[in-house]
């Protein structure tokens, strides 16, 4: 049953593949602006599993040169919400309480974006599952 205390945009829009953007004025080009929800039931579990989107593609390739199957590159042509060639390092999956995102939405600190296309989300899911660094208990929540 949906939680009535959740902001409407989360109740109707939050799911695996949802993309959010920090509105913070502190943002610089070196900092990640977007994050992606990857777990299949964020509302029911009250927990978010997030991956971070960055534009440091070369660094992600270098860090993961022996496991390139664990990074997903996304071009603006594939997902036009991203204005630059971006990358998701799927070895980094962060756990956050849903209540914290709920508070950030209420405070207008994050902005919801169009969901990732299914084929890109499938790549991210595959890459997380391929990661030797992500614990199995998190993988089971995808």
């Amino acid at each position: 049953m949906p939680d009535e205390r959740l902001p409407l945009e989360l109740r109707i829009g939050l799911r695996a593949g949802s993309v959010y953007y920090f509105r913070s004025r502190e943002l610089t080009s070196e900092r990640p602006h977007f994050f992606i929800v990857v777990n299949r039931d964020p509302i029911g579990s009250r927990l978010l599993l997030l991956t971070i989107v960055t534009s440091n593609v070369a660094d992600a390739r270098t860090r993961n040169r022996n496991r390139l199957q664990t990074i997903v590159e996304i071009t603006p042509a594939e997902y036009r919400e991203f204005k630059v060639h971006s990358v998701v390092d799927c070895n980094v999956v962060l756990e956050k309480p849903l209540s914290e995102l709920s508070g950030m939405v209420r405070r207008n600190e994050v902005r919801y974006h169009r969901d990732l296309p299914a084929e890109i989300f499938a790549k991210i899911k595959t890459a997380v599952l391929a990661s030797p660094l992500v614990p199995d208990e998190l993988k089971q929540m995808l």
Binding site: E26, A58, T62, L94
Partner: protein
């Protein structure tokens, strides 16, 4: 805890168990910084 400390080689004549090239070290350090920046924005 600052995860960047793990990128430092051991002091003295101790051989590191995993040798990192300078490029790798910088890429890992920037990755740590990105996660830290995310955490700061999240709060």
């Amino acid at each position: 805890m600052n995860y960047r400390d793990f990128l430092e080689d051991p002091e003295g004549n101790i051989e590191p168990c995993y040798a990192l090239a300078a490029k790798e070290r910088k890429a890992i350090a920037r990755g740590i910084d990105e996660i830290a920046a995310f955490e700061r924005l999240w709060r």
